[in-house]
Amino acid sequence: MNAAIQQLNNAFSLIAPDAVLLAAVCLIFFAAPFLVNDRGEAPVGLRHRWGCLSLLALLIAGCVWWQSPPVTRTLGPFVLDELTWYIRGLTLTFGVILVLLHWNQADDARSAESHACLLAILAGVNLIAASNDLVGLFVALELVSIPTYLFLLLPRRDAPAQEATLKYFLLSIFSSAVVLFGMSYLYGATGTTNLSGIHAAFSAAHGQQANPLVAVATVMLIAGLGFRLTAVPFHFYAPDVFQGAPTSAAAMLSFIPKIAGFVALLRLMVPATGAEQAINPWTMTPAATPLLWWLAVATMFVGNLMALMQTDIRRLLAYSSVSHAGYMMVGLLVGMEHEGQKHLLTKAIPQSVSGIGAMLFYLAVYGAMTLGTFAVLIAAARTDKRIETFDDLSGLSRTRPALALLLAIFLFSLAGLPPTAGFLGKLNLFFAAWAQGYESSKWLAVILAINAALGAWFYLKIIGVMFLREPVNRSPQETIIETPSLIAAGLCLVGTLGLFFLPGWLWVPIQSIMP
């Protein structure tokens, strides 16, 4: 009995920050109904309190996170290694920004539930990073998905939001089913749901013939998780949902599911640190690499080419998020190949940029720049109308020069121009792919560069609209002051510029993940 309690305690200590977040979620869900009267009205300004409470929860979780450094891996259901630790830091930091973005997006009566959903989503991402078991992984993935449906709908319950939510809901369920299918095959092939056990089984099967079960599982998992990443052809929901959902929800969707998807793929495909693994037909790598290659290429091209034709700023950002997913898939793919052939490398050759490291770095950079963009869009909204088309942004440099400058910096970063972190992020990915040495990965590097150029086209188009066009019938008094999103934009600016000038700050923890 004591041993069991001891084990439970140990397991709990691995997910303490997430437990804090989930406790806050429970508290909010429990308390919120009491503060809204029968007619569904709440005291004015209640949303500020919920916002503060969310920030407090994130702060406590952050303290707990800081106090719980990575520990050695066990066979238990959870792991707390460097990857978990890094991803937690990422979600908690960007969680603060998302809370700030969401601050005024929901009205007082519905603010509580939507904040709780956001915290639950963040906890879910952390649990994905911490899970060491297929079951735990799937539950954590659902802990991200299900609150997302609510989060999309709750703040604004108008027709576009309903449509967006419904689309997301149906397709998300579909993808979850595909993931579950893949997991079941994986279980069938290896006989265990424990991820360490699965990778051990792969290693043990060295020399045997390829297993079609594993191949099917690989395709299913990549396809199902590709939905979270907005990988082509699983990206179709993105433009529609971004357009219809509230801005803060679009911001969340552009970033959080990507962390979830990439971390889940990392956990599934790349064995734990230190485990020697050759490419043998039994692992997921041989099936995954060509598939990911094609998906990455398609994702980059479709994202950028489709973004070129958009006039709606949210649809454009949706396609932009598709293309950035493609860039990060390049990192993932290159990293997987690298991990697979690690034993072949002599230690004498200094490893250049690791693909997984580049991908994890880009994830943080991408979060800062894309959330910054959304923050400016929220801050630039008017009382009657949010920013939707290019016309709403035209002449922004006259009416709100500071916001225009901020947005220009974020767009520069998204386009990958120095002196912004986006430049370094793309540079890392490019070097990682180029230095890999395969013909295929060199092609990937070239395609990445071409797509970066294509991307610059439409980002710079927005900047041109802001700075060169005259404002369209806009009087200054219509603008509202959105302090929380301005703070969020400021934080993102610090990230976007800071990670260019001091990349070591993030790079050092990343390098400890995949030594």
Binding site: K167, P212, A215, D240, M309, F501
Partner: protein, 662 residues
Amino acid sequence: MTNWLNENVLWLIPAAPLLACLWIVLVGQVIGRKYAHRPLVLGLAVSLIASLYLLTVVVPHGFGHDEHDASHSVMTTVYQWIKIGTIDVPVTLRADAMSALMLTMVTSVSLLVAIFASSYMKGDPGYPRFFAAMSLFVFSMCMLVLAGNFLLLFVFWEAVGVCSYLLIGFWFHKPSAAAAAKKAFVVNRIGDFGLILGIFLIWQTFGTLDFATLFESPNLINGILAGQPDIFHWICILLFIGAVGKSAQFPLQVWLPDAMEGPTPVSALIHAATMVTAGVYLVARCTPFFVHAPYVQMTVAGIGAATALIAAITALTQYDLKRVLAYSTVSQLGYMFMSLGAAGGGHGLALHAVTFAMFHMFTHAFFKAVLFLSAGSVMHAMGDVIDMRRFSGLRKALPITHWTFLAGALALAGVPLLSGFWSKDEILAVLAAASREGEHAGFYGVILGIALLTSLMTAFYTFRAYFMTFWGEEKFPEEAGHHPHDAPPAMAVPLAILAAAALGIGLLTGPTHLYGHYLHHTPGLPEGHEFPIDWLMMGISSILAAVGIGTAYQLYVVSPKIVENLQRRLSLAYQASQNGLYIDWFGYKFIAAPLRGLAKICEFFDRWVIDTLVDCVGFIPGLFGSIIRPIQNGMVQNYAAVMMLGLVVCLITVLRALAGTH
């Protein structure tokens, strides 16, 4: 305290002007626009003190003896920008004896010029802008000197170019100023192109750009030398092209006289004392490379001689006081390159050649700065008129300016015991030594002859300008009003200090070998034996100076009629000199005009061929979209179907591939 200083003095030197710049840009534009010079003066004072401190700590104490064997340089990595795998880009500052001397020169002249400018620029609407740009310039210049690798050097090489552009075009509403700024920038770009190619070549050859690795380990150079000795010629000629652009040498000297459109303090600081000497610094810094490229060294000497001669001839007949000084600067820079080139004359000469070039640069900074600032003071008094035909006899009206200008002029002319005398004489001596021995003795003999001729002309044109301005009957242009006022204290004090330096600094550091011995602590400089004083050259140069000054006195004070006669008789030669031997014209006619034609063709090609191609490419997204759009129609069942289809395709592909491997 000493420990702290030792560790931090390096970054402190550039940081102080940078902070001043940030302060002026962020705060000074709004608050206290009239006092925008204060942060700069304060920052420069800090930099100067730090530089002086650096001067004392960078070499072993008790210098002056023969102990330049150990390598003495200080390095700090201020900031590690990116260190990912094999990619490593640190911002490294490195100082040795050479940089310490250069920094002292830069910061002291800048400080004095800044004080001068605080009064000179008073009332200008762009007052804060001026000081912001100047702070940025001093920062960039300090970083250029302190750069620990070629990449950083190149970055700040460009940065000083940008600052120069900003300051030449400071009065950008004046079309001539805007054009001059553009010209300076474009001409400089030609040199920069050579420099960056040289840097690429160094990177390819050595695999590093770090000064410490490149210059302080002879083994590395010897290894390359054994394998590919010719590479040094290529590297050096490319680096020298960079130096030619920045230091306004033939045939890229055309930008410097036009650069006089900028405010006079800028001319004094950037286009006489500091930035234009960056080329000399670069070549001196890369001496370990140049000693292995004797032909390039001869080219350096040849280009230097050509420049010195052409510029001196041009300066003979200019009427614009600042242009006289500008051509004189070009000419003196030519002198420095002659000296650097003399290193090719014999094995023992390299050390002395570099030392004397750097020494001439050092003294030149002071006496040319005082000349320019005095000219500025004249301009200030004459209501911005600078044409020497429109004023004369100013020595009574502007006594302070008169004396300071005279001090600078005497030093420049090479009057015995003054700064210019010592440094110029040493250059002549090293050229004479080169012409006495070695296989290229004849070549260096010609160079020496040109140097002597130039020296004569220098004395003449300097005193021509002096006599035309300060002697003769008193005459003011109407812009000056009736009572021109002499320099106010804020201008007079820097003038006086610089004049004193122009007179004395050579005597203090030249014959005592203080400068030379100090510089010998620079790691990487070749060994050399004691260099004897060349009494013959000293005598000749003194006589030439006296002859030049005497002729100028005769022609412009005693009997000005002769000049008019000469002008009429030798009108062709006179016109040629007046127009700078038509080099500018030639450049426009035969380089700029064909280039413009080429640009026209390119424009046509761009507009009709490239644009059409781009339009075609731009059509692709539309085409692509029209294929994708029907799928992206907002129908959720469609989306699910396509996703399913994609999944099936993925599955079939992977399984088929797997089956193929069996």
